[in-house]
């Protein structure tokens, strides 16, 4: 199979897979979904590898990520932390009324830790994307014991 054929086969596999999944679910034949999924996966792999082996990629996607990284990150942050924020709000409301205060406090603590973790990761990622600085490597203590070679 040459590479052009591989790409065409891959694309056809994806389309056939999607059609099978949609039609099967519409008809209530859930058994067919897995076959559609297999077709989609194989089609995606064939198409991806076909293009990968053949074509030179565009760098516009790379540039887009570099230029809009901060915007993407802020949007992602809002979406990602939403459930944890809701959990915190709910916990605050529940603490006054519920009889399971101890459990709520434990859950609150876990949620807080997770919120901190998520925010920390996103902060780090954004900071890194904006401009990570290459730090010079320090040599070991042993090197200071040696005589300068030069």
């Amino acid at each position: 199979m040459n590479k052009r054929t591989a790409e065409a086969t891959g694309a056809a596999g994806i389309i056939a897979g999607i059609a099978l999944i949609v039609l099967a679910d519409a008809a209530g034949v859930s058994k067919a979904r897995v076959f559609g999924a297999v077709l989609v996966v194989l089609g995606g792999a064939t198409l991806g590898s076909g293009i990968g082996f053949e074509r030179v990629p565009e760098d516009s996607f790379t540039r887009l990520i570099q230029q809009r990284g901060l915007v993407f990150s802020v949007v992602a942050t809002l979406i990602l932390v939403l459930p944890v924020v809701i959990a915190l709000g709910s916990a605050a409301a529940g603490l006054g009324a519920s009889s399971s205060r101890a459990w709520i406090l434990v859950g609150l603590l876990i949620a807080l830790l997770m919120l901190a973790g998520v925010l920390f990761c996103l902060f780090i990622a954004v900071r890194s994307m904006i401009g990570a600085v290459r730090r010079p490597l320090e040599t070991s203590e042993a090197s200071r014991l040696g005589e300068e070679a030069t």
Binding site: S100, M129, L137, G146
Partner: protein, 697 residues
Amino acid sequence: MIPTREILWNISLAGRVAIYVLLALPVGFLAYGLARRIRTWQRGQPVHRFDHLGSRIWGTITKSILHGRIVRRGNIYGGVMHVNLFWGFVLLFIGTIIVMVQDDIAGPFFGINFYSGNFYLGYKLVMNVAGLALIVGVLMAFYKRLVTGSPWKETSADDLILLGFLLVLCVQGFMLQALRLSVTRDPWSAWSFVSSPMAFTLRSAPSPWVKVIHQATWWSHFGLTFVFLAYVAYSKMIHGFTSLANVFFRRLAPKGRLDSIANIDEAETFGLGKLEDFSWQQLLSADACMHCGRCLEFCPTFNTGKPLHPRDVILEIAGFMADSGDIFSGEVGEGQNSARFRSGAGPDRELIGGVVSQAEIWDCTTCGACMEMCPVAIEHVPILVGMRQNLVLERSEFPREVTPVFTNLERVGSPWQYPPAQRADWTKKLDQPVREMADVAAAGEEVEILFFVGCLGSFDPRNQRTVAALARILQAASINFAILGKEETCNGDPAKRIGNEYLAQMMAQQTIETLNAYSIKKIVTACPHCFNTIKNEYPQLGGHYDVIHHSELIPQLLKEGRIRIDPHSDFAAGEVTFHDPCYLARYNGITEDPREVLQQLPGLQLKEMRRSHKHTFCCGGGGGRMFMEETRGTRINRTRLAEAQETGAGTLAAACPFCMTMFDDAVQGAEAGDSMRVLDIAEMVVGAMIVEGIGDG
């Protein structure tokens, strides 16, 4: 009530369809990235790595999957961190597959619901443990990278983004579970011990709200998982594939062997001057690097402030491959060192000079510390020597100090200008004569063992004392041995490791012809470089011998009672530290024999240096470095001497003439002769040995 849960609870039909329909995207991106990489590996030279499949599979399981090369002495924190990351991730992935199998195969086709009862409870417990392990692993990694740090660790955005991905995905997973449990209130929710407490916090929220949040979280989790999968092939996460592949396709030859260039007379190119000169497996290995920096821990050049950092050489090559193969990978940002973080400085560079500097290439001592430590079995030394071969044989570019070495090797068969006739002069110091093979053969006799003296032992006055000591031991043990004398030439090790493969093969062939002419079967040598070359490299050229290093032979003789130690001798008494020569300990795994010898010497207290055994620190003399000026950083031999002095020992014991020479220089340079003596183990044994009728002449 049987414990179970509704798969894809609260998710609409659109979600069920979308999860499979959109699967084409991450799979496509992943396949695309892998294909780009495979395309670059295909540029390499063919090499057969599908032999010994059993060993390869077993090695991959033990070294990588079971973390045999990752959880190691000195890397317990890093090892445990990686175990958490790896197994947490793998178990969660398997867990996802289990759910898919239940929902799409077992249920619809066979009417089986295995996702219930005790299996379900166990599954929930394991998934919570796995998620927690992954979070712990990520936090340990953050702590290591951002708080404690280490001299050999540096952090790129890629590292942090990946850790962020893993943490956020885990948190989302637990949140999804908590949101569901807060509505369904499963009586068995305690088995989900991480998310269950969070479910309590959500109980006060109105259920419709929670369901909406659950849906939003599910979609973002699903989207983020797909983005993560798509990102894998363009980040260092690719090592999940490449490191396993590299360990599987690793070289199975003896560690100390540098492969010879086959049919060198007909070769048109030499060494590694461009990516196409590498083998495909070497190119794969560059992509297997996970940037951990373990290779730097014992590296003599990194630890003495030289430009060569083995990891960076590999990343420079990987970055160049990415540029040449049009692979978008690595750093998102500005101002990065392109090679280090793989983003593009462009493919229009020369490998040597443009990607890897000559300083990096020539600073290597070939000690193998990088290869010993590398968790993914990358072989740095053959790559650096390959680039040396290209410089020497194609461009005639090498440090000027090496010119006389090559000339002398060609003319007189040793790196120095001594005539071959002087090779056996050291034997004149002995009372008993040492026979040369020519005389033995002329008399129609054979010997039990050939003593391959080596060039330093033959000509260097300091090392002559070592070989004389070994000869005395052999004589005391009544071993029938001989030397080659003026017929001995350099075995080719320095030429080979400096990159002059042509000359190295010439020297090796000459030695093999001589050894075969005398039907030599067994060889002893006091030089780990001779030992390694004859044992591990000569078989490639048709020389097959039983080679033994004197540090292996001496304990054997002691055990057999063929030599005896005077229990009242105080020659070796006191605190002694032993320096493991790289070519003995790391390349050939000989670490205990020399210590066994030392421990039998009366009054000797062995003090270990902080870097010892296979984790020894180079003396700076290997890889032809003994013949080159050390112009960058601090002196390696001084650094090692300082480590020996840290132990408080008054004697530095060695078992290698290169190390002896380097340490003698270091002791003189540091004016430490009064506080530290440098002795070979053979000298120490002779000094304490009961001698019957044998002495100095």
